[in-house]
Amino acid sequence: MTLLTAILALVALALVFGAILGFASIRFKVEGNPIVDQIDSLLPQTQCGQCSYPGCKPYAEAIADGEKINKCPPGGENTIQALADLLGVEPEPLDAEHGEESVTKVAVIREDECIGCTKCIQACPVDAILGAAKQMHTVIASECTGCDLCVEPCPVDCIDMVPVAPTVQTWSWEQPSTTADSIAAKNDNLIITDKGRGAAA
């Protein structure tokens, strides 16, 4: 009899709390963008396809379907971290199979070598290249995402990916080395100076 009461009581409790939880999940539902858009907004939109998907959005969709989050080299660690935060999963190191994180680059066409074949225009996902058939082509640097896609199709190999040089406006201080860093570097001279500025004249 006692057993029965106990079971009944527990069942009743379970029902009540279940009802409360169910109500809460509906009443306090967090409204938000669909997860794919949220993921997409974290990806760098380079559209380079290095993740082996035909663009950032498809990769976002794949992530939403359970694909790994560490396949975007242009985004690098920051993007992986952000994705991990968003999805509540552990960040993983970048999958080297898809390339390595590198400094931001911009495509530059060596204009006197360009033969005006327009192949690069067709390759550029963000329409960052200007030119007409048989005319010299050029890259609008501010629109270029540095995705590298125009380099391969160029028959005369006249497109270079050059790192974006810092200007006075974009320059910023380097992160100072910490004790742990300098130990890791086996640096006897444990003095923190600005690494980015190199030796002064």
Binding site: W171, T179, R197, A201
Partner: protein, 952 residues
């Protein structure tokens, strides 16, 4: 004037050693005129100024060198008279040590002023005019970052300025330039305040001076008492407690008014404007003396200089000169700081100029500012939080900055940090907190920038996708519309054809009647011809024109084609033995009738031609017909292609029996002929259009074209059948008979192809003699064009060959990868070699042609400049050596060749690298690479020689 002013306290703050007495003993002295001045175009916050002078210009003192570019910008003036010797990128005094555009002036020592604009009666001048004056005189904030003063003084509409705060706190250790200014030039400061009063109309003005500068306080108070008239509002001097960083704008406002500038707003939102004393003095100089911001007071101090003091320094003076004047001991100089020891930045060399914000040059020895100790781990002692004037928790921000948790750092108000350095100053663990914060701020800005950029990229990407989709849709729509139109036209034509039949037009009847297989399309085409015929004379009655020739021709060729086709079909049928005797007989009849029709048509054509020779060139031709023909042509083409596709799929699927296949094939070829006919007609019509003046010359071209098309089609058909035959032979499922039948077919096709080719060749060779030289000259505006056409054609072929070679290469690679058996690979490789050979041949041909074209062009170019009569004959032109004609062009070609070969070489090298990495056998690749390299080197050499030749 010195009643007590209520003061508030700020949180935190520190008391570093002041070290001001070294430099504030002597009065301000003037530096001798430097030989050179260096003026960076950007010495202020905002966009760089826009140059108004150029190299070689003589400039006068005070003359504008660059003007404000945009709202937040400032102009720049010549600090003395002299010559502009260069404008180039030079290192600028900035923490980054980066370069920026800098004007270099060689001074002439004359100090010649340009005309100065003075506003003596500023109390009755419009504030707007005063603001413009300040703006034109390049005045920027002289205490801090160099914000353009005019911008700061331009209030937003709803801001009423209540309090003007003049910042004379100078809380940084070592610096005494403001102190000296206030002590010696208090009147200037007060005049400036009265100008500001006229602009801003404040209720009161407070000058905040730290109480370690009582001499300055006294001088200011005396000056205020001496200027009662020009100050229509209350002006007070507040001696505030000495504490770093009381001179920060926000901190000074808090000390003097007790108000905090809310996060994200500016003091003007509180009705407060804050200006540095130096700026105020510069304003008074600009207004009362017409002197733009061309010099400033700079403190030179630090143990590495012997004569510490304050100097009136021209903007642009090299720091080298300044230090030399002060007796610098270079061996002791260890840290060179622009600005104060708390917020200044180190300079990378002495070869940098003084700029508008340079209040101090601190040449420190190692004893003074030794190397910082190695940072230890934060012990969370909280001393930094106690020192922070912004009431932040620096240690917390440090953790976040260090681990790059930027969102958290931002959440905990990282951007309220004024980078005063108080936290680093007190940190017992020697942690360079400020640098961590600067790094984090930069990182956050970069992230934001990257986010904006990625959003932008996304937009552009999506726009592109949309565009492509739209283009696709449009194409689709057009195709559909065309099909619809064609269908309609067809219906119409049918109707008309019926009409025409009933009218019994003799010409139209011939082919249609004979092509009695019930082919609607043929009928339709014929109807179109009939229509065009009946129309043309109608619209053009006076001229029995050459236009008339076209339809005849078309009809003739059509008839011929039909005849040939029928003949072929007959042959095929005979050979395959599929058809019954009757059928063959029937077909034979058909063929002969077609032949007759063709002969008729030809005769008519000849007739027409003969009639035409006397007729003058015809100018008018109905374009409507062309359109109709075009439609017909594309329609038939579409039908043909569809049939072809269907046929191919069927063949591939192998579902159909041989008969069915042949049936389909004949259907396809029929359609093809239809298409060709239509096209030929179209071409004909085009040629007859008014733009063409010499149809005699062009007609062979058309023929050649048609023939070419026919030939290539024939070839394609032949090859296809050959392939099919091979395939069926291999899989061995087909019976012997079938095979032999197929073989025969193949042979037939081959012969067709050969014939077509021969015809084409004939036509080609026959073309030159046939064409009237006069007409030719008329027809081709320049003799080079033919070459060019040829060249183009060869170019196309070359690229095709290259593509083929590439494909072959790919196939080989794939085969290699997939580990196919060796014979296959060998086969593929031979194919590759062949295609490469073809390509090379074509390429060399192309190059030859290129030269020729160039030669022609060059001659033409020279010919154009000559009188027209002396236009040389093309033959003579061709003999001229091409290289001399246009070296630049040639050079360009060579460049292209060089870069192409370079690209090839590089690609190969990359491949080699990959192969090496993968541990594959690389001997062959290596050979290839070296070959490519030699090619490149040769090309490059050629290029260089050409270049050298060009240069000499």
């Amino acid at each position: 004037m010195s009643q007590a002013i209520k003061l508030w306290d700020i949180h935190g703050g520190i008391h570093p050693e002041e070290n001001k007495s070294q430099s504030n003993q002597l009065p301000i002295s003037t530096l001798p005129l430097p030989k050179k001045l260096y003026l960076p175009l950007q010495q202020h916050i905002g966009s760089p100024s826009e140059l108004t002078v150029k190299i070689g210009d003589k400039v006068l003192k005070g003359q504008r060198l660059a003007e404000a570019n945009g709202f937040i910008s400032a102009s720049l003036h010549a600090p003395t008279s002299g010559t502009i010797v260069s404008i180039e990128e030079r290192q600028i005094p900035h923490a980054s040590g980066l370069t920026a555009e800098t004007i270099e002036i060689e001074t002439d020592g004359l100090e010649q002023w340009c005309e100065r604009e003075v506003i003596t009666d500023y109390l009755h001048t419009d504030p707007i005019a005063l603001l413009a004056h300040i703006r034109n005189h390049g005045i920027t904030g002289m205490g801090g970052a160099g914000f353009p003063t005019a911008v700061k003084l331009t209030p937003k509409d709803d801001d009423h300025i209540d309090t003007l705060i003049i910042n004379g706190a100078e809380c940084e250790p070592y610096i005494t330039s403001d102190q000296l200014l206030m002590r010696e030039r208090a009147d200037q400061v007060i005049d400036g305040i009265s100008v500001l009063g006229q602009i801003l109309k404040p209720k009161r003005c407070i000058i905040g001076v730290e109480d370690n500068k009582l001499d300055a306080v006294k001088a200011l108070r005396d000056s205020i008492d001496a200027h009662p008239k020009t100050l229509p509002f209350e002006v007070k001097v507040a001696a505030i407690p000495t504490k770093y960083p009381s001179g920060g704008e926000k901190q000074l406002i808090q000390i003097l008014t007790g108000k905090e500038v809310p996060h994200g707003s500016i003091p003007a939102d509180l009705g407060i404007v804050c200006q540095n004393v130096g700026t105020v003095a510069a304003i008074s100089k600009a207004v009362l003396e017409g002197e733009p911001l061309i010099s400033r007071i700079t403190t030179v101090t630090g143990d590495a200089v012997s004569q510490k003091g304050n100097f009136e320094t021209l903007i642009g003076t090299p720091i080298e000169d300044l230090l030399a004047h002060c007796g610098v001991d270079e061996s002791k100089l260890f840290r060179l700081i622009m600005g104060g020891p708390m917020m200044g930045f180190t300079l990378h060399s002495t070869d940098l100029p003084v700029i508008k914000t340079t209040n101090c040059i601190l040449a420190a020895t190692e004893q003074e500012f030794p190397n910082p100790a190695q940072a230890q781990d934060c012990i969370r002692c909280g001393m930094c939080a106690e020192a922070c004037p912004a009431e932040l928790l620096p240690q917390q921000l440090y953790w976040f900055s260090r681990s790059k948790e930027f969102d958290k750092a931002k959440h905990f108000n990282l951007f309220d940090c004024i980078e005063c350095g108080a936290c680093s100053f007190v940190c017992p663990s020697h942690i360079p907190l400020v640098q961590h914060f600067r790094f984090a701020k930069g990182g956050i800005r970069q992230e934001e920038q990257a986010h904006i950029k990625s959003e932008h990229a996304k937009m552009r990407f999506e726009a592109r996708q949309d565009r492509l989709a739209k283009e696709e849709a449009e194409k689709e729509a057009r195709r559909k519309a065309r099909a619809d139109a064609a269908a309609k036209a067809k219906a119409e034509k049918e109707a008309k054809a019926k009409l025409a039949e009933s009218q019994e037009s003799p010409t139209t009847n011939t082919p249609t009647a004979d092509a009695s297989e019930g082919d609607d399309k043929k009928a339709a085409i014929a109807a179109a011809i009939a229509r065009s015929k009946s129309k043309k004379p109608a619209s053009n009655e006076t001229t029995p024109s050459s236009v008339d020739i076209k339809p005849f021709k078309v009809a003739s060729s059509q008839a011929r084609a039909a005849h040939l086709q029928a003949q072929r079909a007959l042959n095929a049928a005979k050979e395959t033995g599929e058809l019954s005797k009757e059928q063959i007989a029937e077909q034979e009849a058909n063929v002969s009738s077609l032949k007759k029709a063709y002969e008729d048509a030809k005769a008519k054509l000849d007739q027409a031609k003969n009639g035409n020779t006397v007729a003058p060139a015809q100018e008018q031709a109905p374009s409507v017909d062309i359109k109709a023909l075009k439609v017909a042509s594309s329609q038939t083409r579409a039908a043909y292609l569809k049939a072809q596709r269907a046929f191919d799929t069927a063949k591939e699927a192998g579902e159909l029996s041989a008969e069915q296949l042949t049936e389909q094939a004949s259907e396809v070829s029929k359609l093809q002929t239809d298409y060709e006919n239509a096209k030929a007609k179209l071409d004909a019509a085009k040629n007859g259009s008014p733009t063409q003046t010499a149809e005699a010359a062009s007609s062979p071209t058309v023929d050649i074209k048609a023939l070419k098309v026919a030939s290539s089609q024939a070839r394609a058909a032949y090859l296809k059948s050959q392939r099919a035959y091979d395939a069926s032979k291999e899989d061995g499922s087909t019976s012997e008979d079938e095979l032999s039948a197929q073989l025969k077919k193949v042979e037939a096709l081959q012969s067709t192809y050969e014939k077509a080719k021969a015809a084409l060749d004939d036509a080609k060779s026959g073309k030159t003699p046939a064409s009237n030289p006069v007409a030719k000259e008329k027809a081709s505006p320049s003799p080079s064009e033919t070459f060019e056409n040829k060249y183009k054609q060869v170019k196309v072929e070359t690229s095709q060959a290259r593509a083929a070679a590439k494909q072959a290469q790919k196939a080989v690679d794939e085969a290699n990868e997939q580990g196919k058996d060796e014979t296959q690979i060998k086969e593929l490789e031979t194919a590759l070699a062949e295609s490469v050979q073809t390509y090379e041949k074509l390429n060399s041909k192309k190059l030859v042609l290129q030269e020729k074209v160039k030669a022609r062009k060059a001659v033409e170019a020279s010919a154009v400049s000559q009188p027209k009569e002396s236009k040389p004959a093309p033959e003579t032109v061709a003999e001229q050596p091409p290289a001399e004609d246009d070296p630049t062009k040639k050079l360009k070609e060579l460049k292209v060749a060089a870069s192409q070969s370079k690209a090839a070489w590089r690609k190969l090298e990359r491949e080699l690298g990959k192969a090496q990495e993968a541990g594959e056998d690389t001997a062959e690749l290596e050979q290839k690479v070296s070959a490519a390299k030699t090619t490149y080197e040769q090309a490059n050499e050629a290029k260089t020689t050409a270049m050298a030749a060009l240069n000499s």
